[in-house]
């Protein structure tokens, strides 16, 4: 896509057409006599990047031309120049504020499952015990925090209290997820899922009306809070990208430059998706890279800077709201800077390999389950399915402290170091309290850690399996946090194992350099958890650069970049060896979205004539002539065919190409002319030519040159498909016309290309659903 601008300039300034084209195209945008809606697209249609960018350039030229006319026009031109920045600023501020609300709301709601702060109901457990000096920091919190068993009237730790807590936990979880599922069903069905596959498809140039609307925004933000609070194995980080894109879409309507031009709107959406990740993880740079690596399709440098600014604004607003009350943007900020040793790269790479294995395992089974849901009767009971999974999750989660707690809290616990304030099982080491540095040195584990290891192993299996069934249900659900959680658990387990290995063999020559003295070895299991989280997330999403940047921004561990890079790269290698695509691409394929992947290479030797429509035995291509058809005949063509655009030729006999006209524009223009223009009747001649033959006796002619695209991209029938696919990818074409000896022969649309690729990969070509 980078060549897009250049190619346009070439065709615009060098070709002989320049003047004519400028006239024609500037008419499209600047004159008000065109009916509204020309240049827009129907639902589920592909956009034509070239045409939209050309339209924008014409509009821009018009503004520059008018600039000389006075102060007001100068002001208008300045407004036009900075409107992109203002728009992304608004998106960033809105996304940051929304993220703050969601963060606070989610922690409060998810603690509501266990109890309440009686004197100040709006505080979650951590905030409730924030300034209390009697904090015991075990499960139960402080004296102001009342569990449901205490609120009901059963105090103590007996079986009765346990059962009451258990029941309340399950009931609240069911209530929350039921609300989320019903909200999605009643108010905005588009709010379900993670949204990233759809955002990717939209950014690649596809229209899904209502997907980025107000109701989707409201429903998704509430649904996210409720479903995370319901204790399901899902995160709210992926949906943040969708939310930010909703803001991007809504705010772009304030600025007609972006609101009416789909290609320009996608620049705002790219910046918005950066803001989404920026607030989801508190990682502004990671967000920009995520937008570049994973989501965006067309990413010029201008968009990079806008994304940077948007991510900055979003992070700044979120930081001032300070939702976690820890003066950091993120939940799992680590505060240690222990060194790591070269031998540790082996377990890090091992973690990366496990991450890649789990990633491809997860993708395979999740896609299989989603396909089963799509095709079987299970798909008919979406709400029942949500409730059932919630019930199972809550039932199994509650007895295990590591699954009972909020997943982000668990990751924070796993990646942090055992300090003196930690009294949990995980930090129960056989410490010697007579030395000063007893907390930084590694020692043998106590009974508490042994229990914790058992519970963590069970949590690992449970989380790893239940996430497969959870992701893809009809509620807002993200994938980042659960896959990171699985990785963090495995990482912590391996980290503890490594620690014990070193502590037990501290004299051994392999581990010699890891211990400063006989008493003092430093192995940080938290670091392994961090690397594990990165590896597993990398295995599932197949990200590399943005993943590592997100991880070190997330944890603040700048010096652990090399371990994370090693793990991310290994997990990508292993994952790619076992299955080609990441989870988002797999979901795009499952749904059959028309997404032309720019990562894959096209290596077949077919030519344009093999792909082109009409095929050998089909009726000839449906064309419109430039100056001999009446309105009636044109309407008959529109009625009888379902093509989305028609080539315009000089005459049916010669088949020399004049231009291309879109169905929607044609319908709108004819309807408008019949209504408003005097003398246009059904036997008026439709003129696409510049010269209108004088005919004083006949009805008034209908001149439609303004809606004609006079620079359609054409290729010859012998062009190799490799080139054609590259053109579709890099220029963002919607269709290209095929000629033979200069005469029009056929047409290739984006859908034809996608079908062709699917066919060559031995898939059902009809699985590409939309236009």
């Amino acid at each position: 896509m980078g060549e897009l601008g250049k190619v346009f300039e070439d065709s615009c300034f060098v070709s002989e057409y320049t003047k004519e084209l400028e006239e024609g195209a500037s008419n499209i945008d600047t004159l008000e006599d065109l009916p509204p809606g020309i240049g827009q697209y129907e639902d589920f249609h592909t956009i034509d990047w070239l045409r939209d960018i050309a339209r924008d350039r014409m509009r821009h030229r018009h503004i520059i031309k008018k600039k000389q006319e006075g102060c007001w026009e100068k002001l208008k031109s300045a407004h036009d120049a900075w409107s992109g920045w203002i728009c992304v600023l608004m998106v960033g501020v809105a996304a940051g504020a929304c993220a703050g609300v969601i963060d606070i709301g989610t922690t409060w709601l998810s603690d509501l499952k266990e109890g309440m702060c009686r004197e100040a109901f709006w505080l979650n457990r951590e905030q409730c015990c924030w300034s209390a000096n009697d904090t015991t920091l075990d499960d139960e919190g402080c004296s102001q925090w009342f569990t449901w068993s205490e609120l009901v009237g059963i105090s103590g730790q007996g079986a009765g209290a346990f059962i009451v807590k258990y029941i309340f936990y399950i009931l609240w979880a069911l209530f929350f997820t039921m609300c989320a599922a019903l909200f999605v069903r009643v108010f905005a069905p588009y709010a379900c899922g993670s949204g990233i596959p759809e955002i990717k498809t939209i950014l690649s140039g596809f229209i899904i009306r209502g997907y980025l609307g107000k109701w989707t925004l409201l429903t998704k933000s509430l649904g996210m809070m409720l479903s995370v609070a319901g204790g399901l194995s899902l995160g709210k980080e992926g949906p943040f990208v969708h939310l930010a894109c909703c803001f991007g879409n809504i705010f772009s309507y304030i600025f007609p430059k972006y609101g009416t031009n789909e290609a320009k709107k996608r620049e705002i959406l790219s910046a918005a998706s950066a803001a989404g990740v920026s607030v989801a993880f508190g990682a502004p740079i990671g967000g920009v890279l995520f937008s570049l690596e994973e989501v965006s399709y067309y990413f010029p440098l201008k968009t990079l800077w806008r994304s940077f600014f948007c991510a900055l604004a979003a992070a700044f607003v979120l930081r001032s709201i300070n939702p976690f009350g820890n003066d950091h943007l993120v939940m799992f900020y680590i505060d240690y800077d222990e060194p790591w040793y070269i031998q540790e790269l082996i377990p890090f790479i091992l973690l990366g390999a496990f991450g890649g294995l789990y990633g491809s395992f997860f993708i395979k089974f999740n896609i299989a389950w989603c396909r089963f849901r799509k095709q079987s009767r299970l798909g008919q009971y979406p709400i029942l399915e949500v409730l059932l999974i919630t019930f199972v999750t809550a039932l199994i989660s509650f007895p295990n402290p590591y699954t009972k707690m909020n997943t982000s809290e668990m990751i924070r616990m796993l990646v942090s170091r055992c300090g003196s304030e930690d009294t949990t099982d995980l930090c129960d080491y056989q410490r010697n309290y007579t030395s000063i540095d007893s907390y930084t040195a590694s020692t043998f584990i106590g009974d508490g850690v042994k229990t914790a290891l058992w519970q963590l192993s069970l949590a690992l299996i449970f989380k790893g399996v239940i996430t497969i069934f959870t992701f893809g249900m009809k509620i807002p659900s993200g994938l980042f946090i659960p896959s990171m959680a699985v990785g963090a658990i495995l990482g912590r387990i391996i980290g503890i194992g490594m620690e014990q290995l070193v502590v037990a063999n501290r004299e051994h020559w392999i581990f010699e350099n890891m211990c400063q003295s006989k008493q003092f070895c430093t192995i940080t299991p938290g670091l392994y958890a961090m690397v594990g989280a990165a590896a597993f997330l990398g295995g599932v999403t197949r990200m590399t650069v943005s993943l590592v940047v997100i991880m070190f921004e997330l944890t603040g561990g700048l010096q652990y970049i090399v371990p994370m890079m090693a793990a991310a790269m290994t997990s990508k290698w292993i994952g790619d060896a076992l299955g080609k695509e990441g989870i988002y691409d797999a979901h795009i394929r499952l749904n059959g979205y028309p997404y032309l992947d720019s990562k894959e290479e096209f290596t077949h030797t077919t030519i344009a004539a093999d792909v082109m429509r009409p095929r050998r035995n089909d009726p000839p291509l449906c064309v419109i002539t430039q100056d001999s058809m009446t309105v009636e005949e044109t309407e008959a063509i529109l009625r009888e065919t379902e093509h989305n655009g028609f080539p315009v030729v000089i005459s049916r006999e010669s088949q020399y190409l004049v231009g291309f006209v879109l169905r929607r524009d044609l319908i709108l223009a004819i309807a408008n002319a019949m209504k408003n223009q005097e003398g246009v009747v059904s036997n008026s001649v439709v003129y696409f030519a510049s010269h209108v033959a004088a005919n004083p006796n006949g009805p008034a002619p209908l001149k439609l040159r303004k809606i004609l695209d006079m620079a359609p991209v054409t290729i010859t029938d012998q062009t190799p498909m490799e080139t054609v696919v590259e053109m579709f990818r890099k220029l963002g074409l919607r269709q290209t016309l095929v000629t033979h000896n200069g005469r029009l022969l056929g047409i290739i649309t984006k859908k034809d290309v996608l079908r062709h690729i699917a066919q060559l990969q031995n898939q059902d070509p009809e699985s590409i659903l939309f236009n």
Partner: protein, 191 residues
């Protein structure tokens, strides 16, 4: 719709503010600042292992956030190893946000119940009732004709606003049912 939500939540916030003002007569422990000291477990000469490592003191001067002032059982050996941090938060933000969330969730919940239960009943009214409304409209028109120009505008404009809202709602319902068909029935997307 949004304005209504905003005003309702604003009122509720005011209300809860009043409540909290009343409640704050008694000593409350939900302060916005704290000084948190974390001390290592350290066995001194007297061989007593302290039972706690975290000491929190609220309502302190930032300059006095030191181990000597916060840790009651401080010993000269212990204090140099303690880390004290002055932290602040904003409970008002939390309160406003949580009340806002509760309001929106309950509003949507009520609206959802309305859409699921009452709306189908209203939509399938018996035909006689409809005739009745038609009559009413006619009557209305007659009265409108009789009265002078000035007060005539108001009901018309009100009607048009209500019609507009109804139109919007109808359009929205149409798009939602279309989306529902795509996702829940045909399973065409978002699987």
């Amino acid at each position: 719709m949004y304005i209504k939500i905003a005003t309702v939540s604003f009122l509720l916030v005011l209300f809860s503010n009043n409540l909290s003002c009343l409640a704050s007569e008694q000593p409350s422990s939900f302060e916005d600042v704290r000084c948190k000291c974390v001390c290592p477990k350290y066995q001194d000469k007297n061989n007593t292992l302290p039972d706690r490592t975290v000491y929190i003191s609220d309502n302190v001067n930032p300059r006095l956030c030191k181990c000597e002032y916060v840790v009651k059982s401080a010993t000269p050996e212990l204090c140099p190893r303690c880390e004290c941090k002055y932290e602040s938060r904003n409970t008002t933000t939390i309160k406003v946000v949580v009340v806002f969330v509760i309001c929106i969730v309950s509003l949507l919940f009520v609206y959802m119940l309305f859409l699921l239960c009452l709306d189908p009943l209203i939509a399938h009214r018996p035909p006689r009732y409809e005739e009745h409304t038609n009559e009413e409209v006619n009557l209305d028109d007659q009265t409108v004709r009789r009265v002078p120009q000035q007060p005539k505008r108001r009901p018309v404009r009100q009607m048009s606003i209500i019609d507009h809202v109804k139109d919007e709602q109808k359009k929205w319902k149409g798009t939602v049912s279309e989306q529902r068909k795509n996702i829940y029935d045909r399973h065409a997307m978002l699987n």
